[in-house]
Amino acid sequence: MTSVRAAEARAKRKKAAGIQWGSWLFAAALIVLLLFTLFPFYWAIVASLTPEAALFRDPSLWPQQIIADHYRALFVDRDFITPIRNSLVVAGTTTIFCLCVGTLAAYALARLEFKGKAAIMGFILAVTMFPQISIVSPLYLLLRSLHLIDTYPGLIMPYMTFAMPLTVWVLTGSIRQIPRDLEEAAHVDGATRRQSFTKILLPLAVPSLVTTGILTFIYCWNEFLFALSFTLGPERQTVPVAIALFRGQYQVPWGEILAAAVVATAPVAAMVLVFQRRIVQGLTAGAVKG
């Protein structure tokens, strides 16, 4: 009797040890992964505050001497404000336009029954996946003949190619998750489609619109290939292009590049931290339904 109980206790202890081992391993792996994720950011911030001469000389993980020169140079000597303004104008205009047009389409795709709906959804998904490079040549020739190379419309138009399908796709997935009850009740009470759309659905869909807007904005803010292809000089370059083409007089100005990287990352990182839950929902709403 006692031996049975002892054996049981031993087994229990063994199992507990196993679980504990499992959790330790799990925690350790997670910490390694977090370090891997956060280290490049940490290192960029440290380096952006380090004098240029000390950057590649026996680097130390802790900052030795903190200076703000790179940030000053970025905004005073280099006029980094211009690319930021360009990015804000292009990404902002594209996002707003896509939201206005996309909301109508998403409403129809989420709420109305009509023939060809499935085909439209398939078409939109296909367009989100096709490679940007495959339309660079005609867009370049088109913009050149319209004298739109190196202008805001010359970037906003190409940006629609990926922003519009993205907006419609995410917004449709998101609106589908809003319960229909209220709209149906309104229809029973004799409300028209237009009334149920503007008075009931639209207010309920504000969070969806915000999430989708953030996603579209992030995609536009980060875009590189079109911005590189369709601008000529610093006046109209967006942030990614400006950073990628940073050149110093004699050598690569790493201090300034990293300061610029920190500045370009900060707004996006802030948005992600604030809206992470919604962004995750928006990203996965349409994607996984196998």
Partner: protein, 301 residues
Amino acid sequence: MRKISRLGYEARLGWALVGPALSVIALIAIFPLGWTVWESLHLHELRMPWLGQPFIGLANYVEIAKDPRFWAALAHTAFFTVVSISLELVIGLFLALAMNRVFRGRGFVRAAVLVPWAIPTVVAALLWRFIFESQGGIANALLVDAHILKQPLVWFIQTSTAWVPVILADVWKTTPFVALLLLAGLQNIDLSLYEAAAVDGANAWWQLRHITLPLLKPAILVTLIFRTLDGFRVFDLIYVLTGGGPGTSTEPVALYTFNALLQNLRFGYGSALSVVIFAITFGLALIYVRGLGVRLGGEEA
């Protein structure tokens, strides 16, 4: 009778509402795609306007078939795609399983891993370039300190070592996205399956292999599609990290095409390259969707 007219009304309203978005997409995405095909059948050198734009049939495609730099670029792209996606799937699966558990600080982990996904690819590439830059860089310092390297390496001078930062940067940036797609799949799995298995004495490994992975298959396949297509159009990351170098030994197809178009201004040939990339991506998507039986979104399942 009334039902039919109501349906007719819904159909008209539906198309009217979808119309503007569809016409924008058709006008700026589909029409240019047709134009690319048309360009690809012509000789069009912007550097030599006196040549005009004569029709040359499939000559550009024949040139591609004989172009060693294109085949090399295709091989680089495939190599990059396969290696980075394999790593991302494994790490992403771990991360998804981790985020599916309840533990203190889960919100923080989720937010932290999302940030690399959200920042510009150009910035991600620069961060990793800086880490591996120069013999006095931090990667060399850490690896020498840990006795993994005997002496500092010049990473970007050799093809084999130049791939390391490229793949690391891609894994760093995209694994969160992979993890999120897989996590969404995990959350659809019925928890009672695990409880039943646990009652029958199945251990965690058995549960992973016989419950989680089979039921996660659709999510894994969707992730695979998204990431393969992404991998095949890789541009920003390599443009910034290696510029396709040393030489052209890490150049992917998108970068080769970009150079043909905007460096050499060979619009006919560049367009033909674009069409080939489009065809490859389209083919891959078809294989996945048809062959592996993935159903994507569309109708409510």
